[in-house]
């Protein structure tokens, strides 16, 4: 009975289709959790919206771009100061957010005029910025503002600026995944090929689906520099807007996060014939495998092997120190989707950690295919989980550490389980060799945090040691 109906779900039996408990000899394709399907209202799902998938995850990472959000103030407020993606030019993308601050009269009479004014104003206020992404939200999509027409007018009036529009109202699709898709497809159709990048190496690639969380992009860039590979565009970690307009010139598209950015790699392949190479950039084995694949593609295998050898020499002893102390630890991964399949085998092979439960907010069925193929037996695989399910699964599997977001982290703390930030990391970066040592360190420090042992102790149950007076 590999699909599971949890007790807490007895009144919403359709949840059985979303929860899989892997049994020996299962063909995962027979028991794939239903994914990317509508949320059951009132379940306390963890999902976000299409707007946040576009703005917060992908577009908002760009370090030189005005993020103009056409909607009421909350959409801007809520997608600001919630991500840990630095840049190398002063963190504009972390410090600022822009909103048209839609009010009732704008909703009644249309918001185009206000939008146009706000766009000009934004460029006037920060004249050094010449690039903008414009996002729609629930109400501005519902009232049907023609944002493309407004954008056209602003670009005509300001020849030195470039603006990209993303129509991503929060109600579109079933989760943030829809926003990823809209942004990917829009960008490749409207912006790729509008600039010719300067080519400085015979080896060129785009690195797709890495958002420079706590400096992931900076760390991986060291590898590409060592290999002499020019990264034309990072999609979108530490990237400039114009970098992404030159993506068509890369000889290879390397994809890390296939869920949020696989679409653009597919489109680049279709339109420009650029091959797509999927790698996992977390974990020692995977990073080495990724470097090997990329080096093989460019015919620079020796350089690749030399890089791997020097990185192993530097970091493997540190990793092994943690492995000895983490072996057998039980881990749960409650994140967005792809990190399930990126991490489950990496932590098992590199650190001896057993992943006993995994849940995905916005993964699709192909993500579950991947994770179930890589994951252990006896492990829960859950699509679009909710809070009561979390409680029940925790009781069943008793994890030692949970990789999840800060809010759920606060909840599981009360259950005496430490969390490590599976989205923004505790103290990353986590990608690459050095990064995985960071992940191991944070997991080690969480699992061995003495306060959690104290929390499990009831002071009233401690035998009182009687002090005898010295005779």
């Amino acid at each position: 009975m590999p699909m599971v109906l949890l007790r807490c779900d007895k009144d919403i039996p359709e949840r059985e289709k979303h929860i899989y408990l892997k049994a020996p000899d299962d063909d995962p394709k027979d028991f794939l959790p239903l994914a990317n399907s509508p949320t059951i209202p009132g379940t306390l799902s963890e999902r976000g919206c299409a707007f946040c998938g576009a703005k917060l995850v992908i577009g908002g990472v760009l370090k030189d771009t005005i993020q103009m959000i056409h909607g009421p103030i909350g959409c801007a407020y809520d997608t600001w100061h919630t991500k840990r993606y630095p840049s190398d030019n002063g963190n504009l993308q972390i410090k600022y957010v822009w909103s048209t601050d839609m009010k009732e009269p704008d909703i009644v009479f249309g918001g185009e005029k206000k939008l146009e004014k706000a766009m000009h104003e934004a460029f006037d206020e920060m004249p050094h910025l010449k690039r903008m992404i414009l996002y729609t939200t629930c109400p501005t999509a519902l009232i049907g503002d023609d944002v493309k027409a407004v954008t056209k007018r602003v670009m005509e009036a300001r020849p030195d600026v470039d603006i990209f529009t993303v129509e991503c109202p929060g109600f579109a699709g079933v989760s943030q995944s829809k926003g990823h898709h809209v942004l990917n497809i829009g960008w490749v159709n409207e912006k790729v090929g509008t600039i010719e990048p300067e080519i400085t190496s015979e080896y060129t690639m785009n690195f797709i689906g890495d958002y420079n969380i706590q400096g992931d992009t900076f760390l991986l860039q060291q590898y590409w520099d060592a290999l002499g590979i020019q990264v034309i565009a990072h999609f979108t970690g530490n990237a400039n807007y114009d970098d992404l307009r030159g993506m068509h010139r890369a000889k290879l598209n390397v994809v890390n996060c296939a869920r949020s950015a696989g679409y653009i790699a597919n489109e680049l392949k279709r339109k420009y014939g650029t091959p797509r190479l999927d790698i996992d950039s977390w974990g020692f084995n995977y990073t080495a495998e990724g470097i090997r694949k990329i080096s093989t593609f460019f015919g620079i295998e020796e350089k690749g092997e030399a890089l791997i050898a020097s990185e192993y020499a530097k970091w493997k002893p540190k990793l092994d120190w943690y492995k000895a102390r983490l072996k057998g630890a039980k881990m749960a991964i409650w994140t967005g989707g792809p990190r399930l399949w990126h991490w489950t085998k990496a932590v098992e092979d590199d650190l001896g950690v057993e992943v006993v439960a995994m849940s995905s907010k916005f993964g699709h069925e192909e993500d579950f295919e991947k994770v179930i193929a890589r994951g252990r037996e006896g492990t829960y695989y859950v699509n679009d989980p909710n809070e009561l399910e979390f409680f029940e699964i925790i009781n069943a599997i008793k994890p030692d550490v949970i990789f999840t977001g800060p809010r759920v982290g606060e909840l599981v703390k009360k259950l005496h389980i430490p969390y490590v930030n599976g989205h923004g990391y505790h103290n990353g970066p986590y990608m690459g060799f050095e990064g995985f040592v960071n992940l191991a360190r944070d997991m080690h420090n969480a699992v061995h945090n003495p306060l959690f042992n104290l929390a499990r102790t009831d002071v009233r149950a401690t035998p009182v040691v009687e002090l005898k007076e010295a005779v």
Partner: protein, 462 residues
């Protein structure tokens, strides 16, 4: 001296000061016990607000979404609400209150929330006859007001829905503190206890600072019960501490159930706390006890060491909720500081007519500039261009980079304060709040003197 009040002139916002209405409604909603607010809109409207609360309180709060998808956006979201309520009632056997909080999308679609509630109530009575579930319609379109008005709207709707009958006299005092921290609620409870006043705090958010316990129980939720709200109509009086955050609910109780209501100046600083205690004494007939006279004295003793030595003439910019900003400005004057720039973050026109602002002007010889409907870019530009020059910023964490980049000392106060540890536990109101806030300001200035090597030697002999 002058007090100029003007609105932001730009149409757009760069770095907003407040979140939208549904966020404020959700904040008030989590203050009720056995209650899960249901946000009727896109999933982000609830998911990010839960994250925001978690950032501030380092706690998880339960809030549900009707998960509005495309079909509902086109054909209406009534079914989503019905299904959500059913799922919540079935899966949470202790749930007693479900506020239905609208958003921009569902207000634009025009979903009939009142009608939906009437229908749901019919099948709830039939399907769950042993349970009494209170559904509260809360209209908070994001394109009106802000989190401040959203909070107020939630409070009003809740009392109008639940406190419908005049109950027997309870002898209790209703306290409406506004959007405050658990540390403030604890302080209010202590003060009332010391005065011998049986008080009910709306909302009782003391447990927003909740423990890790050996039995793993999760207590991070509000403690205001349905009965507390019902019985508010039989109270001896109501005291509201924030004009724009919950006072409307106290006024409803006054109009509908003749519960005497006093809106006291937001009790930040010594004088405002004096007013609070006097008003409580007047409403309840209980004298101000010796213990509070002593606590007042301790606070004065501490602040007197700081005011004319360190605080005097320091120019301060203050932003945040109107009641908080006005209270802080008044406190600044008590400490001989100059609140030269006050910023409110929405288009609510009431605060600029607030008598307290006029009084500020009369109390001081500095020019005070008030910007309404302001964003944090407004503050950033002024700080950068020194128009006016400021020595200290008081505000919440969303403005942190203004202080960091301009290298100006900043004390976090208000909501949210996610970039400092444990602030939700510390009171801002009352004598102790005044003392602790004053000392935090002093320590921020001291640290700044040291980091900038600006007369840091003064502190050798202080």
């Amino acid at each position: 001296m002058g007090c100029e009040i003007k609105p932001r002139v730009r149409v757009g916002v760069i770095n907003p000061m407040y979140d939208c209405q549904p966020a404020g409604a959700q904040y008030a909603g989590i203050g009720i016990k056995d209650c899960i607010p249901l946000v009727h809109g896109g999933q982000g409207c609830c998911m990010f607000v839960r994250l925001l609360f978690a950032q501030h309180f380092k706690e998880n709060f339960d809030i549900a979404s009707s998960s509005l998808h495309e079909d509902a956006a086109v054909f209406g979201g009534r079914k989503r609400v019905e299904q959500a309520v059913q799922v919540m009632v079935q899966r949470y056997p202790n749930i007693r209150v479900i506020p239905i909080i609208t958003t921009c999308s569902t207000e634009v679609i025009g979903d009939d929330i009142e009608g939906t509630i009437t229908d749901i109530n019919k099948w709830l009575t039939k399907g769950f006859p042993e349970r009494k579930i209170h559904l509260i319609p809360v209209h908070t379109p994001s394109f009106q007001g802000s989190q401040v008005t959203g909070y107020n709207e939630f409070m009003t709707s809740t009392f109008k829905t639940i406190a419908t009958k005049k109950t027997e006299p309870t002898g209790k005092l209703n306290v409406f503190p506004g959007w405050v921290n658990p540390g403030d609620v604890m302080l209010l409870k202590t003060y009332c206890q010391q005065m011998g006043v049986d008080a009910t705090v709306f909302m009782d958010t003391e447990n927003f600072d909740s423990p890790v316990l050996p039995d793993k129980s999760v207590e991070s939720h509000g403690q205001t019960t349905v009965e507390d709200i019902e019985n508010s109509s039989g109270a001896i009086g109501s005291i509201a501490l924030a004009r724009y955050e919950g006072a409307a609910a106290a006024e409803y109780l006054s109009q509908e159930h003749n519960v005497p209501c006093v809106v006291t100046p937001t009790p930040i600083g010594i004088k405002n706390t004096d007013e609070l205690l006097k008003n409580i004494a007047e409403l309840t007939g209980k004298p101000i006890p010796e213990s509070l006279v002593r606590e007042r004295g301790i606070a004065l003793d501490a602040l007197m060491d700081l005011a004319h030595m360190f605080f005097a003439d320091k120019k301060v910019a203050i932003y945040g909720h109107p009641d908080l900003v006005i209270g802080l400005a008044e406190f600044c004057l008590e400490l001989e500081m100059k609140p030269v720039l006050l910023l409110f973050g929405d288009d609510n026109s009431k605060p600029k007519k607030d008598k307290r602002i006029k009084a500020l002007k009369e109390r001081t010889d500095v020019d005070i500039e008030v910007v309404t409907n302001a964003d944090l870019w407004e503050l950033e530009k002024r700080v950068r261009d020194k128009t006016p020059e400021v020595d200290l910023i008081l505000g919440h964490s969303k403005g942190r980079y203004i202080a960091i980049d301009a290298n100006i000392p900043m004390v976090r106060v208000g909501f949210p304060t996610f970039d400092r540890a444990g602030l939700y536990r510390k009171p801002t109101i009352g004598y102790r709040g005044a003392m602790e806030l004053g000392e935090t300001i002093a320590n921020a200035l001291f640290t700044h003197m040291e980091y900038t090597k600006n007369k840091e030697w003064l502190l050798n002999v202080w």
